[in-house]
Amino acid sequence: MENEKVKTKAQSGNLLEVEHLKEYYPVSVGMKKVPLKAVEDVSFTIKPGETLGLVGESGCGKTTVGRTILQLYKPTAGRIVFDGDVLFDSEKKIKVDMLPYRKRMQMVFQDPYSSLDPRMTVEDIIGEPLDVHKLYANKKERREKILSLMELVGLNAEHAMRYAHEFSGGQRQRIGIARALAVRPQFIVCDEAVSALDVSIQAQVINMFEEIQEKLGVAYLFIAHDLLVVHHISDRIAVMYLGRMMETADADELNENPIHPYTLSLLSAVPIPDPETARRSKRIVLEGDVPSPLKMPAGCPFRTRCKYATEQCAKEMPELKDRGNGHLVACWNK
């Protein structure tokens, strides 16, 4: 298989641009239908071959962002530009047929148990995207492509005729990754792709993601809740809270100089696997829970748990502002 890096044609140098993305789900509360604002104004860009880590607590909308970009959910509003092509624009009412783009944007799911069809062999699972997009001339070529993909993710050729249940969690995740890579995508959304794995296996899969990126130049949106893993794999990290972007910065910069109070408490809450650091560091324990997205606080959504909150925070949501070197922060007080 041609192991050359994918190329982009976009002028801006960005592979993916997401602007003011909104995603509301209609839910019934009693007799009324109300919108659940899962994603409320999210903007970011991803460069070719770059990894953007997306972190936040459960329910903050990070999975929804990933799925909405691929238009597995219909976006409520906003603009999505992929490689220079506008995929969705709510103002200009643009919506394109996604099928040709499915070849270029793929997804790896969290649960390697439920995301593989138990009645299909590994060969058929990895071959299905090739069938859909008709990426082979004859059966022989199909088989060759499948075998080279299996080799790429570290599976043996003799595993091709086996079923998903015959594999361990780590191997299943490799099958899922091979399936995503089958169409040679430029961009993969990895939604908690290593969260279900044991630590020793997790490292194997993380390394594989990195090696594939070096070889093929794929860009990742790496969604995860484990901040140490995200820090390790990402070039840049975006922090979300209740459907909004709080802070975006270079991975090392974010970890060394977090500015937003939410990022600060999130980072301080991570248990560090080092007794010395653990004894020294003081956790900033946040009071209470994340508010329900159905009862979203007005203004900045974090103000109910923020010790710096002022009146202004209740009135208006701060914009993401550049604090130098592409370190974007949405906070009035910091």
């Binding site: 361990s168 044991d198 020793s200 490292a203 809450a269 560090i272 696997p273």
Partner: protein, 353 residues
């Protein structure tokens, strides 16, 4: 003299014949002593030996961490102490001494008093461990009344007091709520309140924060440390998260394939790991030191408990495995005052230098 014999001799000189337990015997302060515990499960595919001879002592007011991957036997060890193994599971041999008495000899009636009053457990998933059809208050009151002679009213007061203690705001209102109406962190607080309402001597926490977000995890860990200071119970912390272990525990046991690989203080385990598995684990997690380097994963796949190797369980995945590792199981060997490891490499080190 063959290699094997010379190794044996060295071992005899250094540690003696008996397998060593860190605290070398049951001290006055020891509240729980597990000795050479073997737990197995009968399955259609044969007997699965989940725990293969684990020993440890737990002192009053101390925190013991048990860390390992899935299938390492850490939860089964906890369940063996609680005597809540699945139907096909049984303790094959060994002793579990609570204040010097072997609880394995106790009749079921006595065990029921022991559970909840002396030892309590909190589980990973607070949604499935609370009963969805009863209010939180009902379940708390039930736990109190089962183990004490309190009247309904007194039990209710105790429940409210416990909810207050674990930081549930507006406890009177929460008492009437059902588990699904509470958030994950709240549910885990209720579980902790329930576990501690009879002031047990030992709290077993089986992955108590794995299902929670980091900020909520921080709250719960802080709460557990707080309560330990107030109530003085001992904690057994079972987890796969090396981060949680590093900040919480006085002593750590690293398990693999149902056996202890290594035990010692947090500093010993993290800064001077002496077992190849522990070393591998520490290399495979992202830490401050290796942030911009490649992780070094442990090769291979976790062990299949249905067919355990004859020698060291970690041997098939170990890069530095020797011939003896395949053949003979290493005993726990003293590396330092506060540090033991079951790895032949340490013995070989001693032999050569």
């Amino acid at each position: 003299m063959s290699d094997l014999e010379s190794l044996k001799n060295i071992k005899k000189q250094s540690v003696g014949d008996e397998p060593v337990v860190l605290d070398s015997g049951v001290g006055e302060n020891t509240i729980l002593s597990v000795q050479d515990l073997h737990t197995s499960f009968r399955t259609d595919n044969g007997e699965v030996s989940a725990v293969n001879g684990i020993s440890f002592n737990l002192d009053r007011g101390k925190t013991l961490g048990i860390v390992g991957e899935s299938g390492s036997g850490k939860s089964v060890t906890a369940y063996s102490i609680m005597q809540i193994l699945a139907e096909n599971g049984y303790v094959k041999s060994g002793k579990i001494l609570y204040n010097g008495e072997n609880i394995l000899d106790w009749p079921e009636k006595k065990i029921r008093k022991f559970r909840g009053e002396k030892v309590s457990i909190i589980f990973q998933d607070p949604m499935t461990s609370l009963n969805p059809v009863f209010s939180v208050g009902y379940q708390l009151v039930e736990a109190v009344r089962l183990h004490t002679n309190k009247t309904k009213q007194e039990a209710k007061e105790r429940a409210v007091e416990m909810l207050k203690l674990v930081g549930v705001n507006d406890p009177m209102l929460r008492m009437r709520k059902y588990p699904h109406e509470l958030s994950g962190g709240m549910r885990q607080r209720v579980m902790i309140a329930m576990a501690l309402c009879c002031e047990p001597d030992i709290l077993i926490a089986d992955e108590p924060t794995t299902a929670l977000d980091v900020t909520i995890q921080a709250q719960i860990l802080e709460l557990m440390q707080d309560l330990q200071k107030k109530m003085g119970m001992s904690i057994i912390m079972v987890t796969h998260d090396l981060g949680v272990i590093a900040s919480m525990c006085d002593e750590i046991i690293v398990m693999y394939g149902g056996r202890v690989c290594e035990r010692g203080t947090a500093d010993a385990i993290f800064y001077r790991p002496a077992h190849e598995y522990t070393k591998g684990l520490l290399r495979s997690i992202p830490r401050a030191e290796n942030m911009n380097e490649k992780l070094v994963p442990i090769g291979g796949t976790p062990i299949n408990l249905l067919n355990m190797p004859k020698g060291c369980a970690f041997c098939p995945r170990c890069e530095n495995a020797m011939k003896i590792c395949l053949e003979k199981l290493p005993d726990e060997y003293r590396v330092d005052d506060d540090h033991l490891a079951a790895c032949w490499l340490n013995v070989a080190d001693l032999m050569t230098g």
